[in-house]
């Protein structure tokens, strides 16, 4: 089953509507919401991982409603030169993408689990977690 990470941007007119429900019910898509935010102007941003047979139809439905859909091209990388395996990021990471490999206590990064929340980029004392576009 194919899978895709996308960023959705909703205008204020759409932010209160059950659009994701429609994607699940009408298009039979599996949705994993990675990050969601509504700003004070009631515009919404949502980052999600979608999988299912009807991804393209689902995205077309979103576009027709006026939702802007972009592929998630931003990714987080662990700079192996800078990382000293201190571990300060591992309990901050909400998805478990950064974890300690025990008993050696080495910090590992599983980018498949990363939800690009940027918390590690800020929290890393060595600035070893970097954003790549």
């Amino acid at each position: 089953m194919s899978s895709k990470k996308v960023v959705l941007r909703f205008g204020a007119d759409l932010a209160d509507q059950p659009i994701i429900y429609k994607l699940v019910k009408d298009y039979d898509l599996v949705i994993n919401i990675l990050k969601a935010n509504v700003n004070p102007q009631k515009e919404g941003t949502l980052v999600m991982d979608i999988s299912g047979k009807n991804i393209e139809q689902g995205i077309e439905y979103l576009r027709q409603l006026g939702v802007r859909v972009q592929s998630l091209t931003e990714e987080i990388i662990q700079n192996g030169e800078k990382c000293v395996s201190c571990g300060a990021c591992t309990d901050i990471c909400p998805s478990g993408a950064l974890y300690m490999d025990r008993p050696d206590m080495l910090v590992r990064f599983n980018s498949d689990r990363c939800v690009v929340c940027h918390l590690c980029v800020k929290a890393c004392p060595m600035k070893a977690m970097e954003v790549r576009f």
Partner: protein, 398 residues
């Protein structure tokens, strides 16, 4: 008869390439298998290591004289101010200094991306550093300003001098409040969301010689990838014994070291500029200390494992900032390293801010240096005050 060895005997064996050297981790296993008596007679030196953020680090630099001469009154290295109130072209760059235009915590939490610790790492990495200085002009030092580039090789001396490093033990920090807090032990999530600690436990130098039986003024050490020395006790040296509310002892804590060495022979791998979100800039320092097994008592202390060494759990939302002498109990390094502990009945994920793999690498490197005969033990000319000295911390009034 009980084993008694001297520094001279051990150094003779090191020179002949006959010394038996093990890391603190290896010693723990050996003592479990063979017992203290046999291991004390078999092993000469135990190596330790730690690699964590250590404020109270810095470097004395002598830039050399310009033509015409300047008496530097203010000096900046990559826009980070260094203290020059000591002599015309000498300065001390402190690890926690930040550039004057740093937004600090104006937008909380500030990032502190570059500071004195980063200048020290760039210096030791042999990068070019922008030097700017101003002077008020004197008859013998007429010049009033200079802007130039230096590298560590262009200047006369670069001496790493860290007034307080290698804390014997440290707090396990938690956050009881309902908001995220940003501390020198990293980001602490609300409502006991996580717990951070910062020593290498069973590899940590001063936890392995807790009564300062071997570490003193003149002890030769691994410092920042080069060779350095213990030159005094560190500031805030309170080498007491931790007790819980019931009076139960949880081991030695609070000793610190003042260390010094030639920055020119050190390495950016072992002196790393560090940014603590919302707190400030600092320097992560690598230190390794050899402990000679002069007798069984020293061996017994050095063989303490993570399950026998404890850290106090401290709330950094209230108790720490307000200097309230309370803790939430003690937890062993074995538990801390497992990835979760229980505090107030809640399971809390743990993470270190000091690197255990790097601490292990330091202990291993120091072991190799001694085995190869490149590194002799420095016999202390004076041992440091220990828990028996009864030193108490002063509180600043006001």
């Amino acid at each position: 008869m009980a084993v008694e060895k001297t520094y001279q005997e051990i150094n003779e064996r090191i020179k002949k390439g006959q010394a038996v050297v093990v890391t603190a981790e290896e010693l723990i296993t050996m003592v479990k298998e063979k017992g203290v008596t046999r291991v004390t007679s078999e092993v000469d030196v135990v190596t330790t290591g730690t690699f964590g953020p250590m404020c109270s680090s810095g470097a004395f630099l002598n830039f050399g004289h310009s033509k015409p001469r300047i008496k530097m009154h203010k000096v900046w290295l990559n826009d980070v101010a260094a203290y020059t109130g000591i002599a015309a072209v000498d300065a001390f760059i402190g690890a926690t200094e930040v550039p004057e235009d740093d937004p600090l915590n104006t937008v909380h939490p500030g990032e502190f991306r570059y500071g004195g610790g980063h200048v020290i790492q760039d210096l030791v990495a042999r990068k070019k550093i922008r030097l700017k200085a101003t002077g008020y002009g004197t008859d013998c030092y007429p010049r009033r300003e200079i802007e130039t580039e230096i590298t560590i090789d262009d200047i006369n001396e670069a001496i790493l001098f860290n007034p307080r490093n290698a804390y014997q033990n440290y707090n396990c920090a938690v956050n009881l409040s309902s908001r995220t807090i940003y501390t020198y032990l990293g980001m602490l999530k609300a409502n006991l969301g996580n717990a951070h600690y910062s020593t290498s436990g069973q590899l940590s130098p001063l936890l392995k010689d807790p009564m300062f039986k071997t570490i003193g003024v003149g002890t030769r050490i691994f410092l920042g990838g080069g060779i350095g020395y213990v030159v005094w006790n560190g500031t805030q040296h309170f080498p007491g014994v931790s007790q819980d509310n019931q009076g139960q002892n949880f081991g030695h804590s609070g000793g610190t070291l003042s260390v010094l060495g030639d920055l020119k022979q050190m390495s950016p791998r072992w002196l790393v500029g560090t940014s603590m979100l919302g707190y400030g800039a600092t320097l992560t320092v690598g230190i390794g200390i050899p402990i000679p097994l002069l007798n069984e008592e020293i061996c017994r202390y050095a063989a303490a494992g993570d399950d026998e060494l404890y850290a106090p759990i401290i709330d950094y939302s209230d108790a720490f900032p307000n200097l309230i002498p309370a803790n939430l109990g003690y937890v062993s390094y074995a538990e801390l390293k497992s990835g979760k502990i229980t505090v107030n009945g809640k399971e809390v994920p743990t993470a270190p801010v000091s690197s255990y793999p790097r601490a292990r690498e330091i202990a291993g490197t120091l072991k190799q240096w001694i085995q190869k005969g490149d590194f002799l033990l420095g016999e202390p000319v004076q041992l440091l005050p220990n828990a028996d000295a009864g030193i108490k911390a002063n509180t600043l009034k006001g």
